[in-house]
């Protein structure tokens, strides 16, 4: 189908600001193919069904809107207490000086540009491949844009049990930075890897991660997006899962003018599991706030399990969106698919839009989905107040209780607590004004 003229203009205007990076032949081909996909699909507009609830204009305009720097000085950075390999990006550019050496037992780590310069590299099977596969049935042109143009990112291969988590720290130092990152991850058979991500990243942040998990491999992902209230971010995680493999991802999102997090997961090996969870808190009091979680899980093998657990707490005009789909392909028998999205709206101004979808072509499956939108439980609030807990503190307690179900999806108890503490501190700070 031909791309309509206004969409074509929008796309070409954006493309005019970007240069296709050099690289090895295969990499160049992958980038050109991705560029062709972008032109084919056109960049998204509000008129696209998939962007009905989220306006992508600030993500597609040639230059990003300015975003104030946010320096947290009142607490230690996230994951400080965790033994990890720390890799720092400043406004989307890898910073070797601030990063640990890229060496870790059980893992190979390279910069994207280095990997894509090599004539022979395992990344060839993953880079742009998972993203391309994830373009049907729904177009994700922003991800293709990052395959074509991202110059930085990491290429990581876990060959055994990674000695410790790899932690990406995204620092934001320029009010007008426009960052585009592309990470490629391969978890080999029976290997295990955890990736942590946090930090404001840039005024505008586009990030794609492609993750291929081989049979019996496990990939864990814990991410926090917060404190950088003026950010605009669109992220994509594309995962392909082999037999008996596991993919578990949790994202904490706090505020942000626009955050769109997409997960595209394909269960291709029997007995694989994929868990995706998200906890979001939005307060639109001083700066607008819009969160969008868009998840697409495809079951294409037997006896796989998928879980989507998303919780949002919104107030003062903050907007939340959840679009979640489970697609069960013919033959994907014994599928166990579960999806829940819940929003707690703390006032009349906040809003939540949910579009849960199931599409099932197998006859022996168990799939369920639910979505709720509710206000704070006044009875519980009164009970707490009657015991002497002031209204604001009581509300925070109930908010944390509500959101905890999503946090419990994190497997590691220490990381659960780390996320809980963050939320608590954020709520306390917010209360102090």
């Amino acid at each position: 189908m031909a791309v309509a003229q206004p969409k074509q203009d929008l796309t070409e205007t954006r493309l005019a600001t970007l240069d296709l990076p050099q690289g090895a032949g295969w990499a160049r081909e992958a980038r050109e193919a991705a560029l062709a996909r972008v032109r084919d699909m056109g960049l998204p507009t509000r008129r696209d069904e998939y962007w009905k609830y989220t306006d992508p204009a600030s993500l597609t305009q040639p230059a990003p809107p300015r975003a104030a720097l946010f320096e947290a000085t009142d607490e230690a950075p996230l994951f400080s207490e965790i033994d990890r390999l720390r890799i720092v990006f400043v406004d989307g550019v890898f910073d070797p000086d601030q990063s640990d050496d890229l060496s870790l037992a059980g893992v190979e780590i390279e910069r994207l540009s280095d990997a894509l310069n090599k004539d022979i590299h395992w990344a060839r099977d993953v880079f742009g491949t998972l993203e391309a596969a994830g373009q049907t049935p729904v177009a994700r042109p922003l991800a293709a844009l990052s395959t074509a143009f991202a110059t930085d990112g990491l290429v990581i291969r876990a060959t055994g049990m990674a000695a410790k988590p790899i932690s990406f720290v995204y620092l934001h130092r320029s009010e007008t930075s426009d960052a585009m990152l592309h990470h490629v991850v391969r978890v080999e058979e029976g290997a295990e890897l955890t990736i942590l991500e946090n930090g404001p990243a840039a005024a505008r942040f586009m990030k794609t991660m492609e993750i291929s998990v081989a049979d019996r491999g496990a990939f864990h992902h814990i991410r926090a997006q917060g404190r950088d209230h003026e950010r605009r971010a669109a992220t994509h995680m594309f995962a392909r899962l082999g037999e008996e493999s596991a993919y578990k991802s949790f994202t904490l999102t706090v505020n942000g003018i626009l955050t769109r997090n997409e997960h595209v997961i394909e269960l291709t090996g029997d007995d694989a599991i994929a868990h995706v969870a998200g906890a979001a808190m939005g307060d639109g009091k001083t700066i607008a706030c819009h969160h969008d979680d868009t998840v697409f899980v495809t079951h294409d093998a037997v006896n796989c399990e998928s879980r989507q657990v998303f919780k949002k707490v919104l107030r003062n005009g903050a907007e939340g969106v959840f679009q979640g789909k489970i697609l069960v392909k013919p033959g994907a028998q014994k599928t166990d698919g579960y999806q829940i999205s819940q929003a707690l709206l703390l006032d009349e101004e906040a809003s939540f839009q949910a579009k849960p979808e199931l599409e099932i072509y197998a006859d022996d499956v168990k799939c369920s989905h639910g979505s709720t939108t509710g206000a704070i439980d006044e009875t519980a609030l009164f009970y707490l107040r009657a015991r002497g807990v002031p209204r604001e503190t009581a509300t925070d307690l109930l908010v944390l209780a509500f959101i905890d179900e999503a946090i419990q999806e994190i497997e590691d108890a220490g990381l659960q607590d780390e996320i809980r503490t963050r939320l608590q501190l954020w709520l306390e700070r917010r209360r102090r004004g």
């Binding site: 006044e378 009657a386 015991r387 002031p390 307690l397 109930l398």
Partner: protein, 251 residues
């Protein structure tokens, strides 16, 4: 201690008068009981005193040690020393019982300008109180009232009362849903808290709770008013003859 004068209360959303002039004085060290038929306004009185939404005071006053209760937020009333043991304790999924109690205790202390209790001191306090109510460590760890039996919920109310050590305790139908053993445990918990500085208002439909918590004064409430006041023998009269006679005799 608790002083209620000519209290008139209607429902906020409806033109329905529930309390039609309640007068009541509960002295420190005394246990007062309010009995009455269903719909007489007993529970409404407890809600209004604790500050629950949905009611409008149209006339009268309620004060705790001279302080105007009706002008305070629910949390301020609690910090001032008022405690309501709920007829239907609320389940709060996701909030641990211990966290809840410590948050409540520290919030009250903070409001009163006192230091927060240390984690160690708190643990000692709660273990001590929990043991006498046969509340085990497992129950303390669970989310507030979630999955608790009726008896466990009521014991948990009394535990909160013991830990928060209020001046004025209101027990709203604490005996409802309790078997004899549970009632005895609850009553023992309440009796252990009786002292010269503390007042009690025990709201109940039946006399049986008052076998275990001996009241000093018994009031009969009907149609939004206290229609008769007497000693413990009044409760026995109710048990024998029901409310009809008393209500009839006053009317």
């Amino acid at each position: 201690m608790l002083s209620i004068k000519n209290l008139h209360v209607k429902l906020e959303d409806e033109d329905k008068q529930i309390l039609k002039g309640v007068d009541l004085e509960v002295e420190a060290g005394k246990v007062h009981a309010i009995m009455g038929p269903n719909g007489s306004g007993k529970s409404t009185l407890s809600y209004v005193l604790s500050g629950r939404d949905g009611y409008e005071v149209t006339d009268g006053t309620a004060a705790l040690e001279g302080e105007d209760l009706l002008a305070m937020e629910p949390e301020e009333r609690a910090a001032a020393g008022l405690f309501l043991a709920f007829q239907y304790p609320v389940e709060i999924p996701g909030v641990g019982n211990m966290t809840f109690l410590r948050t409540a205790l520290n919030a009250q202390r903070k409001t009163r300008g006192e230091d927060e209790i240390s984690a160690g001191e708190f643990l000692k306090l709660i273990r001590d109180k929990a043991a006498s109510l046969k509340i085990d460590a497992e129950m303390l760890k669970r989310p507030v009232n979630v999955g608790f039996s009726g008896g466990e919920k009521k014991r948990n109310e009394i535990l909160q009362m013991a830990v928060l050590a209020p001046k004025m305790c209101i027990l709203d139908e604490t005996d409802s849903g309790l078997d004899v053993d549970a009632m005895k445990l609850v009553a023992d918990g309440v009796n252990a808290l009786r002292d010269a500085g503390r007042g009690f208002l025990v709201i109940t439909h039946y006399q049986r709770l008052l076998d275990h918590i001996q009241p000093d004064v018994v009031h009969i409430m009907s149609d939004g008013r206290i229609i008769k006041t007497g000693g413990p023998e009044l409760a026995i009269e109710v048990e024998k003859n029901g409310y009809t006679d008393i209500v009839g005799e006053v009317a």
